[in-house]
Amino acid sequence: MALPPEPLQELLPHATWVVEAEVVEVLSTGPDVPKISAPAGWTDTGQKVADQRVRLKVTRVLRGEDVPELVVNKPVAAYSLRAGNKGPFLLDGTRPHPVILGRYGPDSYALAKLEAALKG
C-alpha cells in the first residue's frame, strides 16, 4: 500500500536490530493474499503480498547483537523480497525469527536518515 513509511520515530523504539543486509535466499513463501479488485490506474488499493521467510547476510550492524546472518520473517506487506535485495533492515526482537519492520522493508528509510536518527 503506497502510504508513506511509518514515521521513523514511532518505529525505531521497536527495532531490536538495525542492520545493513542482503537477502541471500528466500526460504519459504506464505499463501497468496487475495487480490484487491480495482480498475486499471487506481492507485493506493492497499494490495499486499504473501509473507516470506528469508535468510539475510548481515554486512553491518547499526543496532543490536553482532551476527553474520539472520533468518527473518517478512510479514504480509506491500512488498516482496528476492535474493539480491539489500538495504537497511529494521528487525524486532521476535525469536527465533525476527520480523522485518517498516512498511516497505529495506526500502522504508534511507540509510542516512536511519544513521541520523540512531545518533540523535
Binding site: 502510504l3 513509511p5 493506493d44 494490495q47 503480498v49 512488498y79 516482496s80 523480497l81 526500502d107
Partner: protein
C-alpha cells in the same frame, strides 16, 4: 365531420393535438398521450385530472385495469366525445392507442398489456412464449407471421431510448416459430419483447433475463445519472424524480443507494417496472447537499460499494456556504469502539508562503497517493489554479471550490466547501494526514495542501472515503472542471512512443500529469528500485540527454526515490524504458 367534444379538458387537450397536426408537426397520439386524454375522462367524482392521471400511470396496471378506471367515471357525453375522436378525429393515433380508446367505449375488449407498453386490444395473438436460453439467440413461438420486437432494457438507460423503442429481431414462420438475435446482449441483461401482427397490432410485453450466454453476469445495471432530479422540499426532505419520465433511470428492479456526503446517511430504493423511482420517493437532506449514487442489479456491485456518480440538490444560496463538520478519520485510525485515536489541533499558518509548488505537498498516513500526486502535478503546471480554488475567509475558515459535473446541463459547476484549520495530529503535534514540507508547526505550516485535502475529504464524506485509493485524473477533473484523461503505459515499443509523446505534449502545454505504478509487487519488481508499487507520482517534466529519454517524477511522500537522484526529496528521473516497465497508467487533464 368536425369533432365536437363536450368535456372541456378533453377538448382542450385534443385541440392542442389538432393544432400541432394542422401546423404540419409529427403529431401522433401514442400510448402516453392517450393516457392523458383518458385521464380527462377518468376525472370527476372527486378525482382531479392529476389524480386520475396518476392512477392511470400507476406501475403494474394492466390495460384492462386502466380501462376499468376510465369507465368508472366516464359520463355518457364523455363516451360520445371519445367516439367522436375515434370516428372523426383528425389527429393520427397509433394502433395501440386506438385499441385502448375502443376498449374504453366498449367496441373491443381490453387487452392485458401492462402500463409500460401497448397492447393489441382485440388482436388475435397467440401468446408470445420464449423458449430455452439465449445462447444462440432469442427463440420462441407466437402467432405465425408475427414480427418480434425487442429492446435491451438493461442498456437502454445509457442511451436516449424509451422502453418501447424496440428493434425487430425476427419474424415467426408458418409454424409460429422464431429465432432472433440482438447485438450486445450479455448474460443477465433484461430483454423486453412483444409481437406485432401484420395489421400493426402489438401484443403483451414479455420480459426475460438473458441466460446461457456466458458463465457469469458481469454487466451491472446501467444508470442514467442525468435523469435523476433532486429538489429541496420541506421538512428536511429532498424529493427525487426521474426528470425524463418517458425514459428509464436504470433497469427495472435495480437498487440504487443514495449516500448524503454531508451526513453519511444512506438510503436504498428499488426502481419500479418502468425503471423509475416509486412515487413520492425522498431523501433526507437540503439544498446544496451532494449524494453519491451506487447501483446494483442484484448480482453486480451487490454490496453497493462502487459508486456510479454524484448528484447535487440545487438551490444553495450563493455565497451562503456553511462550514462543514470536520471529516471523520479513516477507519484505520479509529479505536474498536469507533472513537478517534488522534486529536485535532488548530493550524493558523499562511495558505501560501511563496505560491503553490510541488514540494509543498506531502502525503500523510492515508491511502490517497492519487490526491497529492495530482495536486503536486497541478502545482507544477498551473499553480494559479490552486491559488484560485482556496481562499481565506478571514475568520479562521477557508472556502475551497471544486468542480462537479452537472448532469442536467452537461457542464461543470462550482461546489464550495468551507473548512476550518483543525487538522488531526500525532501525539507530538505533526499532522497525521497531508501536510506541507518545511516548518510543520501549527503557527507556520503552509496550509493550502492540507486544507484542500481536508475539504476534499469533507466533500466526499470523510477521510475514510478518500483513503482507500483512487484516480489522479478524478482529482484533476474535480479541481479544474476539465475531463480527466488516461492511457495505459507498457513496454511495447509503439506504446512507449505514444507515452513519450503524451508526456512531452502535456508538459509543454502545462497540463498536470500523474502516473500510477502497478498494483502489486509479488515478484519483487519494485524492491530496491526506489519506486513503489500501487503508488501514484507527479510527472513534472522530461529531458533528453546523451541520446537517452528521461521522465521526471516526484513521489508525493516528498522523499524516497531511486538512488543517484541527489537530495532525498522525492524528485527523480527515470529512463523512459524503466518508466514503461514500472508504471501502468498516465493520467492528465488537458487545457
Amino acid at each position: 365531420m368536425p369533432v365536437r367534444i363536450s368535456d372541456s379538458r378533453l377538448s382542450s387537450l385534443y385541440a392542442t393535438g389538432q393544432t400541432n397536426h394542422a401546423r404540419g408537426g409529427n403529431e401522433l397520439i401514442d400510448d402516453a398521450k392517450v393516457v392523458q386524454l383518458l385521464a380527462a375522462v377518468a376525472d370527476g367524482a372527486g378525482a382531479s385530472f392529476d389524480k386520475a392521471l396518476s392512477q392511470l400511470k400507476a406501475p403494474g396496471l394492466s390495460r384492462a385495469d386502466q380501462v376499468r378506471i376510465v369507465q368508472a367515471n366516464m359520463t355518457a357525453s364523455e363516451k360520445k366525445d371519445l367516439t367522436q375522436i375515434l370516428d372523426a378525429g383528425t389527429v393520427p393515433m397509433t394502433a395501440s392507442a386506438r385499441a385502448f380508446v375502443e376498449a374504453v367505449v366498449g367496441r373491443k375488449p381490453a387487452g392485458g398489456g401492462s402500463t409500460g407498453g401497448t397492447t393489441g386490444g382485440g388482436a388475435a395473438f397467440g401468446p408470445l412464449q420464449i423458449s430455452g436460453n439465449q445462447k444462440n439467440g432469442i427463440a420462441g413461438t407466437v402467432s405465425p407471421g408475427s414480427t418480434i420486437e425487442a429492446i435491451n432494457i438493461t442498456t437502454a438507460p445509457g442511451g436516449r431510448l424509451r422502453m418501447d423503442d424496440t428493434m425487430v429481431i425476427a419474424k415467426a414462420d408458418n409454424a409460429g416459430k422464431f429465432l432472433g438475435s440482438m447485438p450486445d446482449v450479455k448474460e443477465g441483461d433484461l430483454i423486453r419483447l412483444r409481437a406485432r401482427d401484420a395489421s400493426g397490432n402489438a401484443g403483451d410485453w414479455v420480459t426475460i433475463r438473458a441466460t446461457g450466454i456466458s458463465a457469469s453476469d458481469t454487466r451491472n445495471a446501467v444508470v442514467s445519472m442525468q435523469r435523476i432530479g433532486l429538489t429541496a422540499g420541506t421538512g428536511g426532505k429532498v424529493n427525487v424524480e426521474n426528470i425524463n419520465s418517458s425514459r428509464q433511470v436504470s433497469e427495472p428492479g435495480a437498487k440504487l443507494q443514495f449516500t448524503n456526503t454531508r451526513t453519511g446517511e444512506k438510503k436504498v430504493v428499488t426502481l419500479n417496472d418502468q425503471g423509475s423511482f416509486p412515487e413520492a420517493f425522498s431523501l433526507n437532506g437540503r439544498a446544496g447537499d451532494t449524494f453519491s449514487v451506487a447501483a446494483t442489479d442484484g448480482k453486480n456491485n451487490a454490496n453497493l460499494a462502487t459508486e456510479v456518480g454524484h448528484v447535487t440538490v440545487p438551490g444553495a444560496a450563493p455565497g451562503g456556504v456553511d462550514k462543514v463538520e470536520d471529516p471523520a478519520l479513516h477507519k484505520d485510525e479509529l479505536n474498536a469502539d469507533g472513537t478517534p485515536r488522534f486529536a485535532k489541533k488548530t493550524f493558523s499558518g499562511p495558505l501560501f508562503t511563496d505560491g503553490a509548488k510541488p514540494e509543498d505537498v506531502k502525503q500523510g498516513q492515508i491511502g490517497n497517493c492519487y490526491f497529492p500526486a495530482a495536486m503536486a502535478a497541478l502545482a507544477k503546471s498551473d499553480p494559479d489554479a490552486i491559488q484560485r480554488m482556496i481562499k481565506s475567509n478571514g475568520d479562521g475558515t477557508y472556502t475551497v471550490t471544486f468542480k462537479e459535473m452537472d448532469y442536467a446541463t452537461g457542464r461543470f459547476k462550482n461546489v464550495d466547501v468551507k473548512v476550518d484549520g483543525d487538522l488531526y495530529v500525532r501525539s507530538y503535534g505533526a499532522p497525521l494526514y497531508g501536510s506541507s514540507n518545511g516548518d510543520g508547526s501549527a503557527e507556520r505550516m503552509e496550509l493550502w495542501y492540507p486544507l484542500i485535502e481536508k475539504a476534499y475529504a469533507a466533500w466526499h464524506g470523510s477521510y475514510n472515503d478518500i483513503g482507500d485509493g483512487g484516480f489522479s485524473s478524478d482529482v484533476l477533473q474535480a479541481v479544474l472542471g476539465r475531463p480527466g484523461r488516461d492511457m495505459t503505459v507498457s513496454t511495447a515499443p509503439t506504446t512507449m512512443e505514444r507515452t513519450w509523446a503524451q508526456i512531452k505534449r502535456g508538459v509543454d502545454a502545462s497540463w498536470p500529469i500523474a502516473a500510477g505504478t502497478h498494483g502489486s509487487s509479488t515478484d519483487g519488481l519494485y524492491t530496491n528500485t526506489g519506486v513503489y508499487a500501487d503508488h501514484a507520482y507527479s510527472v513534472i517534466g522530461y529531458e533528453e540527454r546523451n541520446g537517452e529519454r528521461y521522465v521526471q517524477l516526484r513521489n508525493p511522500w516528498g522523499e524516497s526515490e531511486p538512488a543517484g537522484n541527489g537530495a532525498n526529496d522525492g524528485v527523480f528521473s527515470l529512463k523512459l524504458a524503466d518508466f514503461a516497465r514500472l508504471y501502468q497508467t498516465l493520467m492528465w487533464a488537458e487545457g
